[in-house]
Structures are given as structure tokens and as C-alpha cells.
């Protein structure tokens, strides 16, 4: 990986983290008040983020054969499976319980939101359990494990 692509990754992460903090998404209270219909702000955050990334995802591969410093444009390819929906339902239960999702759990480290460390640990443990469950073929039916 070239220095320039590493630098782009770091700068893009920095913008992402700054945006999360500026839009107060690092405060679980703000997320929970969205989920309780008291503040629609999260819709604005998602719309803003989707509109810019939509332009990048749709136009960059048409205008350039390959990325500026990379080899190819990745595609976020998804098969519609039961896991996608069952997993999303579970994710929502967890998110609705704590008001913290993966991005804000990580970015929370940068703003001294120490209680968010509980969620960070929970997310890491959940990802571990999902890996173990997938290996053992536990319910819900796991994604195929690539060799």
C-alpha cells in the first residue's frame, strides 16, 4: 500500500470522525432522542452523507478506469440473504438499547466519551461471537466461511 493511499485513508477517516462529532452523533442521548421521535436530526446526517457518497460511488468509476492511488474500485456487493435481515433486526435491538453504533463507538475515544468504551468492548465481543457462531454453524444460519 502506497504512502499516498495510507494518507488518503487517514484523512478520510478524520473527516468522517469530525463529521460524526460535529453532528453530535457521538452522544447516545441524541441517537436515543431520534429513536424516540423527539429530534429528526439523524435523518439529516444520513441524507447529507448518502448524497455526497452517492455522487462519488456513481461517478468516479465512470470517469476513471481506476482509483487515483489504487488498483480497482471495490464494489460493496451483497447477496440478499436471511442473515442480512436477521442481523439488521438484531443490530437495531442493540442500537436502540445503547444509542451507540460502530462508528461513534470508535470516534468516542477522541472526545473523551469514556463510557462509550463499554459499547466498544460490547461490539468487539459481539463480532467475536458472530465469528465463532459462523464457524460452528449455529443459528441463525451463518454466511459461508471462505477458505
Amino acid at each position: 500500500m502506497s504512502l499516498m493511499s495510507l494518507l488518503s485513508m487517514l484523512v478520510s477517516g478524520t473527516l468522517f470522525g469530525f463529521g460524526l462529532a460535529l453532528s453530535t452523533m457521538l452522544s447516545p442521548e441524541v441517537i436515543l432522542s431520534f429513536l424516540r421521535f423527539r429530534d429528526r436530526g439523524l435523518m439529516l446526517v444520513m441524507s447529507g452523507a448518502v448524497s455526497v457518497s452517492l455522487l462519488a460511488y456513481q461517478f468516479a468509476p465512470r470517469l476513471r478506469r481506476k482509483p487515483v492511488f489504487g488498483v480497482q474500485f471495490d464494489r460493496h456487493r451483497l447477496e440478499p440473504t436471511r442473515q442480512t435481515v436477521v442481523g439488521a433486526a438484531l443490530f437495531g435491538v442493540g442500537w436502540g438499547l445503547c444509542g451507540v453504533c460502530p462508528g461513534p463507538a470508535i470516534a468516542g475515544l477522541g472526545v473523551g466519551n469514556w463510557p462509550a468504551l463499554y459499547s466498544l468492548a460490547g461490539l468487539a465481543a459481539g463480532a467475536w461471537l458472530q465469528g465463532v457462531a459462523a464457524e460452528r454453524g449455529w443459528w441463525p444460519i451463518p454466511r459461508a466461511v471462505a477458505p
Binding site: T24, G70, L90, W95, A107, P115
Partner: protein, 156 residues
Amino acid sequence: MLSSWFPSGWAHYLIGGLCIGFGIALLFVPTGRVGGMSTVFSSSWSFVSRRPFFRQTRLLQSRGWRLVFAGGLVLGAAGWWLALGPPGGVRTAVPPWQLLLGGLIAGYGARLSGGCTSGHGVCGLASLQAPSLWAVLTFMASAFVTANLVWRVGAH
């Protein structure tokens, strides 16, 4: 309507969202990577675990940049804190058990689903993936129900 829908103002939400979008664009155009945030929780286990699940090629190949990207998230949030944030940092009164248990369920679910609020909600929708739209509608629904139930029973 504006003040009842957005009691704490709307501009910071929109500008923050645009920053997130530019971050995702700045990852994609120079490097070709698609950045949701939940995969780093699986790919980083490969640094310490020998389990075959975490040794999948797609996790091993992406663990480096995903961690760099996550490091950027911390830096960017810290930059906001230094420049604009409250001196004491962001605080939450949500009790530890809720943060921990919620994180555990959300982590399992996001990895099973293949994405979270950023992976499905931003990157998936922006790349016009139908499964991501289903995932977003599903997690929004279950999160609305859970957050309101928790509130009714008197938790935070």
C-alpha cells in the same frame, strides 16, 4: 415545523453529514475502498486470533487500512473536541449495562448482517444496493421499538 423536528437546530446535522459523505468519497476516489465501520471489529480480531473465520482473505487483506481508517475517526473526533467541543468532553448518562449489552447485540447483528448504520445506511444506500435498503428499514424499525420499550420500562 423546523423547531419541533429539530429542537437543537439543523445546520450542524447537515454539515456533519456532508463531512461524513466527503470522508467516504475521499476514501473511494483515491483508493477505491468502500468504508463501512463495522467490519473493522471482525478484521482486527485477525491480529490476535487464529480462528479460521478471522483468517478469511477478505479480512486479512483489509485489516490494515480499516484500522488506519478507524484511527482517522479518533483523530477527527479529537480535532472537533479541541476546536469546538465542550471542555469536559462528550458525556453520557446511559448506564454501563445498557452500553455493554447494547454493544454486544449490535456487534453480533451488524457482523451477521454485513453492515451497520454506515455500511448499510450510508455506503450501501449510496451504492444502490437493495439488500442494504432492506437492512436499513429493518434496523430502524427494531431500534425504534427497542428504544421506546426501554424508555417505557423506565431505563435510560
